[in-house]
Point group: C2
Chain length 392, copies 2
Amino acid sequence: MTNYYDASRKEWLSRPQIVAGVMTGTSLDGIDIAIAEFEQQGKHNVFRLLGTYFTPYSTYLHDKILNVTEKKRPVSDIAELQVELAEVYATAILSACNITEIPISSIKSIGIHGQTVWHNPPGSRKKTAATLQLANGSTLAQILQIPVVSDFRSADIAAGGQGAPLVPAFDAAFLRHDDYGVCTLNIGGIANITLLPARSSSAPVSAFDTGPGNMLIDAASLLFFGKKFDDAGKFSQAGICIPGLLKICLEHNFLQKAPPKSTGREMFGRQFLDKLLSSIRLPATPGEDVIRTVTEFTAESIAMNIRLFGGGVRQVIASGGGIRNPTLMNCLMQKLGDIELITSDDFGVPTDFKEAMCFAYIAYLTLGGLPGNIPSVTGAQRQCVLGSISTP
Amino acid sequence: MTNYYDASRKEWLSRPQIVAGVMTGTSLDGIDIAIAEFEQQGKHNVFRLLGTYFTPYSTYLHDKILNVTEKKRPVSDIAELQVELAEVYATAILSACNITEIPISSIKSIGIHGQTVWHNPPGSRKKTAATLQLANGSTLAQILQIPVVSDFRSADIAAGGQGAPLVPAFDAAFLRHDDYGVCTLNIGGIANITLLPARSSSAPVSAFDTGPGNMLIDAASLLFFGKKFDDAGKFSQAGICIPGLLKICLEHNFLQKAPPKSTGREMFGRQFLDKLLSSIRLPATPGEDVIRTVTEFTAESIAMNIRLFGGGVRQVIASGGGIRNPTLMNCLMQKLGDIELITSDDFGVPTDFKEAMCFAYIAYLTLGGLPGNIPSVTGAQRQCVLGSISTP
């Protein structure tokens, strides 16, 4: 099909382009901004990270978003949030430029993920597959007078995909190795991996959940010590693994289930912890020992999946909050044996800004007329150019 | 500011382009589609209407939209409607192509207005100016594999405008006369006019409400005869104007108020009718006479505004439901005197599809990188490229 964009897309890809990526996650903590330069070099794309910036949400925005996701609200809330989010993004981008000393005029486009308030991919409980990320592209484009790309997930869902994960596109572009397979690992509440076969291989990129990430460790820390997480891995460091308990954990049938697979709070949340604790004597067992045990379990569930389904990867590139837990990382390193464990920071991708960088990159692809989804990862029937473009 | 689109925009504008426009109005009756070809010829654009199509909303969609506008609803309703509307648009466009025998492959873009569920321009009661037209551009672009332009009103509002009216851009492009001023008139519930100075003039295009359109006639028809409107002007045709009642109507201070001005149901709705009726003897007065009188009033309020503020226009081009009321049109013709009254159909713009044609045209402009708003009409601080572009 002839495409009216062809001329501009070619021009866009012909030189380095600076793009700002804006991510606002479901934790509702605030706005991550990454400003990066992207360039086609031969067959590959390269990036240069120029600056990052974080600013928290106001209580007003935090509460309004939470209200919209949890309660029945008038449609005016949605309409206003679309504009209000674009306005705070604009302010945040200007602050980012100020602090990083990157001239706003050098930014050629902005990729905004928007605030997810609904995500119901095909195959789930409700009939109509749909996703909604708030923040109006036209509003932001008008305020900053810069082209904006927004709504990255709808196209993939329309093509039959899950609309997620999209970060593997970034991983596949920048973290693949020419000669051997590597794997990216994100340790959030849940842990998930993306398998990146060698560039020389014809094997597809794939991604799946391995089991708990920080979820069980956080739940145990809260239960025993009233802390939201095991800060710097101190609780687990002070504990001793309980072999009987670990054994019960490792019997969970999710671990050896063949991918594609995904999990969530319903499988490895507080309920699972309560079930575990019913098998040991409390309060005789120190909390540190329980936390140590679930930390070992978390590491082993990740390592086991990589060994079983990793196709012989030689390197694991970790990101996410879990990389700040040295006990977890040490456990994982031991269990991975010969497979090297490094963090995404080692590749110039600060873990806290990886998603913001990803959406800057997908905006770069979209303006270049290139698809941003990986069908073997999202389940889409085809590659799609992701997002909608608003120009001033 | 350099613009990555320049090359493609030039190419887009270099040849005739067929664009489908999709309008779904606040009456929630259904989907209007107009397929038209647009082309730059010298300094002006020309259009050729290729086909039109209407299909009603399903009860399911009608009710779901009404629920969202009137009640507090979960955010999933909005997310689903975005997708469901795009899906029914896709089906409707395919049907339109079938019936009009226009190959879908000839359609180079689709401009979708979307279903307005919120419109709160600057200066109104709530703090955040915002507008929300539902229907997801990416979803439709993926289904039909055609670039879609959507969300036409947000940019104008972000630039300080009212986000409306946008139809004057269409009028200014296609209905202006080289040598003398003309005026377009839309007789909906409210009547509004757009003044189009001669192309040779430097005077700006302006638009404002003149007073009631069908609103008072409809209210009286319902009250006296239980009919939603005065079908073919039969009630008014059978009645005689009551001079004392007409005099009271004409004393309304909105009529001679200088533009810009706008009005609504609160000024010329049922309450106004009740006030009028309190000044006459009922039931001695026939309903037909009352309807005749408010018809005369409606015609006179339009004509008076054109005489007072029309800057000497020579021609009035009427559209909207009111043009199907011959009594109203005859009254108006008499009251306009030397000023010619014709309908937009005479210009090849079927009145029922004028808005759909308008959004096809604005999509054409957007893909050509051209602004679609008229700041002297919307109040925006600047011209804006309207809408967001989703490509497959």
